[in-house]
């Protein structure tokens, strides 16, 4: 297993958000995160500071375990689907799963 950094950004300011849509998206994203936690694929994460309002910057980073770049790309695609993020994937070298 290798570690990958997934960087999620909203490249464009989203159109108007409806509270209903946000509720649905949060619920689905929660389910996604719960899954990757259950499968022990999530090493750690970082979230953009709450005080910032810019929407064209990276918002969230996930440090993930994946068997290969293709598997990491699959995870990135799934994360993008549920959050609407534009996701970039970066391999990390010399990563080791914590005991």
């Amino acid at each position: 297993m290798s570690r990958f950094v997934l960087v999620g950004a909203r490249r464009f300011p989203p159109a108007e958000l409806s509270p209903t849509h946000v509720g649905v998206t949060v619920a689905r994203s929660l389910a996604f995160v719960a899954s990757i936690r259950r499968w022990q694929l999530l090493d750690s994460y970082a979230i953009d500071a709450i005080g910032r309002a810019e929407v064209d910057q990276p918002r969230t980073m996930l440090l993930m375990w994946a068997s290969c770049p293709a598997a990491a790309a699959n995870l990135a695609a799934a994360w993008s689907r549920v959050t609407g993020f534009d996701v970039s994937t970066w391999p990390l070298v010399a990563g080791r799963r914590a005991a």
Binding site: T20, V22, G23, V26, A27, R28
Partner: protein, 415 residues
């Protein structure tokens, strides 16, 4: 994650939305800027909650973030220094969103202010409706446009113009005392229109728009919580609860319209009927003398609480319509009264009224008056003229399900 979680989160966020906009208004006193602050708050929740978890008190989290966004916006504008200082004192501005309690009188007052501003008399009625749906119900411009079958650009222009009008008239959010007796009727009018459009959509392929009817009902319930001493909101809540209790029986499995006598009353939502009864009791205590809205709720109660269609008390219904006519003699009320008279005394008794109403300038363009006269004439075996009335109703009807019902009725009597 189950759909229940999606539903619960969506409902919670919809309920928080007007509080956020109101909090933004209190700090920024500008609808556009307040909306932006509320939008950015939703965006922050979208980023944080999936990974850090939904806070124990999500409303407090959202409120703190929203206030901080609003204060940042105020700082960015570098003006209104005094206002910022006083607002900053009131808001917690530490790095972690505090989960503050939300049910203080100021918050409730702010929501009322928000509704009252959206329904400000300086705005045309359609702008009041659009602004209420956006600012209080949280519907997007696209959803508002879809709800009223308008182009998105039209709905967007209406919203922009409404915000600009309020700004140009220097209508402040927190400065003036809300003249509640003056504003409440406009708020109730807006909620009634939204509900009516949701309960019986005037055009399109759906009989109802449950989202609109549900939003209006939710906002009306909110209004009864905000101003529990006013009778109007309780009467409207009763009316809406009675109507909504029948929602799931208004069409059959094939989507065909079912009239009251065809509906399975066992499937009516009895929790909503109970809410209607309780709300009506409150409204009766508060609406003295009875208002038009109270009488409409009484009429809805007559239908919703009758054990069977045959048990419907048409005598009481005609009496209520007589009272309503004395207060609000609109052609629509007169049409409904005529239907009740036809049920009480037979179709011939109502026909003279119908003959007059089809000549009415406004009502003649509605399919309903023609459909009612067609029904009465068919019951009197005046088939040729009934067929002509059905034809006219079919030319005017905009809703596909109602059209199918009229076609079916016309076929049945000509068989």
């Amino acid at each position: 994650m189950s759909g229940d979680v999606e539903t619960a989160l969506s409902r919670m966020l919809r309920e928080e939305w007007p509080r956020l906009v109101a909090a933004g208004m209190r700090i920024l006193d500008d609808f556009q800027a307040a909306e932006d602050a509320a939008q950015e708050t939703l965006l922050a929740a979208l980023d944080h909650w999936p990974l850090s978890g939904v806070p124990d008190r999500p409303g407090g989290w959202l409120m703190t973030v929203c206030r901080r966004r609003a204060l940042n916006a105020l700082r960015d504008r570098q003006r209104e220094a005094d206002r910022m200082r006083s607002a900053a004192e009131a808001a917690a501005v530490d790095d972690t969103p505090a989960e503050t309690p939300l049910d203080g009188p100021a918050i409730i007052d702010d929501q009322l202010r928000l509704m009252a501003m959206c329904c400000h008399p300086v705005l045309p009625f359609d702008a009041q409706v659009a602004l209420t749906l956006r600012m209080v119900a949280g519907l997007t411009t696209e959803e508002i446009a879809a709800a009223f079958h308008q182009p998105i650009a039209t709905a967007a222009q209406r919203l922009v113009r409404a915000k600009r009008t309020l700004r140009s008239h220097r209508i402040g959010f927190a400065d003036d005392e809300i003249d509640l007796p003056v504003r409440l009727p406009a708020v109730l009018d807006v909620l009634t229109l939204v509900f009516n459009e949701g309960y019986l959509t005037h055009a399109g392929s759906d009989l109802t728009r449950p989202d609109l009817a549900g939003e209006s009902h939710r906002l009306t319930m909110l209004l009864t919580a905000i101003v529990p001493g006013e009778g109007g909101p309780w009467a409207l809540r009763a009316l809406q609860s009675f109507h909504l209790s029948r929602s799931c029986t208004r069409t059959d499995d094939n989507g065909n319209l079912l009239t009251l006598d065809e509906q399975d009353r066992r499937q009516w939502d009895h929790a909503l009927i109970d809410d209607g009864r309780a709300s009506l009791d409150r409204a009766r205590q508060l609406c003295k003398p009875p208002t038009a809205l109270l009488l409409q709720a009484e009429l809805a109660a007559c239908h919703a609480t009758a054990p069977t269609f045959e048990d419907t008390d048409w005598r009481a219904i005609v009496e209520r319509y007589d009272q309503l006519m004395a207060l609000d003699a609109t052609p629509v009320v007169e049409l409904n009264r005529a239907i009740a008279i036809a049920m009480r005394d037979g179709p011939a008794a109502a026909l003279p009224t119908l003959n007059r109403l089809v000549e009415h300038r406004d009502l003649a363009r509605s399919h309903r008056v023609w459909a009612v006269r067609a029904e009465l004439r068919s019951r009197l075996h005046d088939n040729v003229r009934a067929d002509q009335d059905y034809q006219r109703a079919l030319e005017l009807v905009g809703n596909d399900i109602e059209r199918a019902y009229l076609v079916r009725s016309r076929q049945q009597f000509t068989l």
